[in-house]
Amino acid sequence: MSNSDVDRELKRLTRRGFLTMAVAAGAGYAGWKWLHTRARDGGLEWPLRKGLLANERLAEAYFSRARLSPSFRPSDITRARLNGRLGLKSPIDLDAWRLKIEGTASTVALTMDDIRALPRHEQITELRCIEGWSIIVKWTGARLGDLIAAHPPAELPKYVALETPDRGYYVGLDIESAMHPQTLLAYEMNGSPLAPLHGAPLRLAIPVKYGIKNIKRIGTIRYTNIRPADFWAERGYDWYAGH
């Protein structure tokens, strides 16, 4: 090839290469714009919501009740952090409080004594907030799985919904996470009865989920086969939020 042949060939390859790159960059930019202009589903562009759902199916397929959140020593316990007063703003009469269970043949209303009568479990686990921070907490309470076994629905549902008495906060759980041995209905935190802002008289401690699922001041537990509403999932977050 002579020098002029080389120049011609180089010009051709250069034009082709940079054109391809420009088209690819344009397509990528258009795709990014497209993604951000999609209709929202629970506060999130629907393709991203579909992405979260696909990840959820994968996580559910892999999930095992036998895999535990690591346990820590008492000396590892960190200072408790207070984050969120959703569902705690209305006044509460702890003596009149009952845990309602819905979705059984007839609605059940349990007292704290009923819940304390269930086998007592203690665990020191990490609570990981969706914001990124984490704390080590000692929880004492009854397994949600034991409560479900004591007050069983007609057949095991797909989901469990939990709500504060005023329904100011509510979460949904897949049944596998609800039945996990470390999913506790906690009435003590770091060896003391739950403080009001930590969810007295009864809250959820669920280390297989982000902190957002650790609902405080539980009023109602409902068995359902319809995916329950979830406060933060309605505001752009992942419904599953599982670890």
Binding site: L10, R16, F18, L52, A59, S69, P70, R128, S134, G236
Partner: protein, 219 residues
């Protein structure tokens, strides 16, 4: 006399140029997540607001957990390609690479006159390109340790726990930014012929005019 020499295979060019926006989206969405708990370094809220980073944690997470698959697939395909094409031989450092990288560094800083050998990738490049790939693997593993710290608790333990994994994940991201800065500076220094080769695959080389010499001998 000029001639065109094949330099970068088409597949490598695609992997390289796809990785750029994919990593950019991963870093951007990572920053959206980081804002919610700026543990290692913080900015005034007015800055976060000016950069439109504040209050986008859910979008950041959803983007991160969507594009992570594309980022991973592109990386895995790149590794498989280099393995099966034999391209890895040019990329993986050997026992001479570290010495050569040191000489290259001295040369780039203007301390040493002698230029690195005119191979496709010199020792410094081999170390940098293999190193950044291992960093990518580190990001995938530390990311999984953060994403599923119960299902993969053994992995989270390897990173000394949840916050340890978060730190590694963050530090690697700072590493990509530093890599990018040096990489772009070196590309600018190396010039247009080198950069164009990453787009079109071929490089122009000056060669002695062999055909004329042969003709002379024949006469």
């Amino acid at each position: 006399m000029k001639r065109l020499v094949k330099k970068h295979p088409l597949a490598i060019r695609w992997f390289h140029w796809l990785n750029f926006p994919l990593l950019a989206v991963m870093i951007w969405s990572g920053i959206l997540i980081y804002w919610a708990y700026p543990r290692y370094a913080n900015l005034p809220q007015t800055w976060w607001r000016a950069l439109h980073i504040n209050n986008h944690l859910p979008q950041g997470m959803a983007l991160h957990f969507f594009f992570m698959w594309l980022f991973m697939i592109n990386g895995v395909l790149y590794v498989l390609y280099t393995l099966f094409s034999g391209e890895w031989r040019e990329l993986v450092p050997n026992r001479h690479s570290f010495r050569e990288a040191w000489h290259t560094l001295l040369h780039d800083l203007g301390i040493r006159k002698e230029a690195p050998p005119p191979r496709k990738f010199n020792g410094a490049q081999q170390i940098a390109y293999t190193g950044v790939l291992l960093m990518g693997l580190g990001s995938l593993l530390s990311g999984l340790a953060i994403y599923k710290p119960v299902q993969f608790s053994w992995l989270t333990k390897l990173f000394l726990g949840y916050q340890g994994a978060r730190f590694v994940h963050f530090a690697l991201t700072v590493g990509y930014v530093l890599f990018f800065l040096v990489h772009v500076a070196q590309v600018i220094r190396a010039g247009w012929n080198n950069f164009r080769a990453m787009v079109i695959g071929v490089e122009v080389q000056e060669v002695p005019d062999v055909s004329l010499v042969i003709n002379d001998e024949q006469q």
